[in-house]
């Protein structure tokens, strides 16, 4: 069982889903706080589910409010960084960049391209997020 736990964890790092920040979290876990990492992960997925839903609603509205979207992504990036969610963090950064460019864009045709990029990045972000969630669930389950 121990070996399986180690393997799952190693693959999460090797495939770039997690970075060193996750190790920092593990170091905060001790006998007095034996489930700290799982607790933080649970908080993260609760928070990020809400953010994803907010972003989806904002995108559905049709007119891209880049400022609002960027605000949500800023939060998303912040908590993703704290937990070491590397791939998700990367997608957040890209999304924010497209927001920044889109916000400054004068030509509506080019703006539309930025909006497309945002949508595509968001789709990728959700995918990475869902994968991470599943793999972490496996990891915590195996650790029990």
């Amino acid at each position: 069982m121990q070996r399986q736990v180690a393997l799952i964890k190693q693959s999460l790092f090797d495939q770039g889903y997690l970075d060193e920040q996750f190790v920092e979290l593990e170091e905060l876990q001790d006998d007095a706080n034996p489930n700290f990492v799982e607790e933080v992960a649970t908080l993260y997925f609760k928070d990020s589910a809400r953010l994803i839903s907010n972003i989806e609603q904002a995108l559905e509205r049709g007119s891209f409010d880049f400022n609002r979207l960027d605000n949500y992504m800023h939060q998303f990036k912040g908590s993703s960084t704290s937990i070491g969610a590397s791939k998700v963090k990367t997608e957040c950064t890209m999304f924010r960049e497209y927001c920044r460019v889109g916000n400054a864009e004068v030509f509506s045709l080019f703006r539309t391209c930025d909006e497309c990029r945002c949508l595509r990045t968001f789709k990728q972000l959700k995918k990475e997020h869902a994968t991470l969630r599943k793999k972490l669930e496996q990891y915590f389950q195996a650790s029990k």
Partner: protein, 144 residues
């Protein structure tokens, strides 16, 4: 007001320099939880708040001599600099110490921090040993 004999300063070079009351202000649950745990791990007693108002309210409690405020500068919907300014305005320039958490180490951020009477800066994501040494440094220079 609370400047006087703060707990832990009897042995300035021992680990007890870090024992003491700290407020940590961060916007989202994940960051607040992680920062709080990190501070507790290094021996601090922590009150975690999620708004400038809560922070100022906590500071006004004379029963709790807070020595340090750990302040996230980049919070959505809240200006960390403004909170720092208010703390200095109401409580003066000596206590509590303010340590800012920032995603950027740009000069203008540093400048502004100095202007606001911030005593230390840590780049996010926060690492335990960095928080530890920055806290010690700030507390050491404050007691000199």
């Amino acid at each position: 007001m609370l400047a006087g004999k703060a707990p832990g300063l009897q042995h300035p070079n021992s680990n007890s320099i870090l024992r003491g009351l700290i407020i940590t202000l961060a916007y989202d649950d994940v960051n607040r939880t992680v920062t709080k745990r990190l501070l507790e791990k290094i021996g601090c007693e922590v009150t975690a708040v999620s708004s400038g108002f809560e922070c100022l309210s906590a500071l006004s409690n004379v029963e709790m001599p807070y020595r340090v405020v750990i302040l996230d500068l980049q919070m959505p919907e809240m200006d960390g600099f403004e909170v720092a300014m208010k703390i200095r305005k109401f409580y003066g320039y000596h206590w509590p110490l303010i340590i800012a958490l920032t995603a950027s180490t740009e000069d203008h951020v540093r400048e502004r921090c100095l202007q606001m009477g911030v005593n230390g800066m840590i780049q996010k994501p926060v690492l335990l040993h960095v928080m530890d040494s920055e806290l010690r440094r700030a507390l050491q220079s404050a007691s000199e």
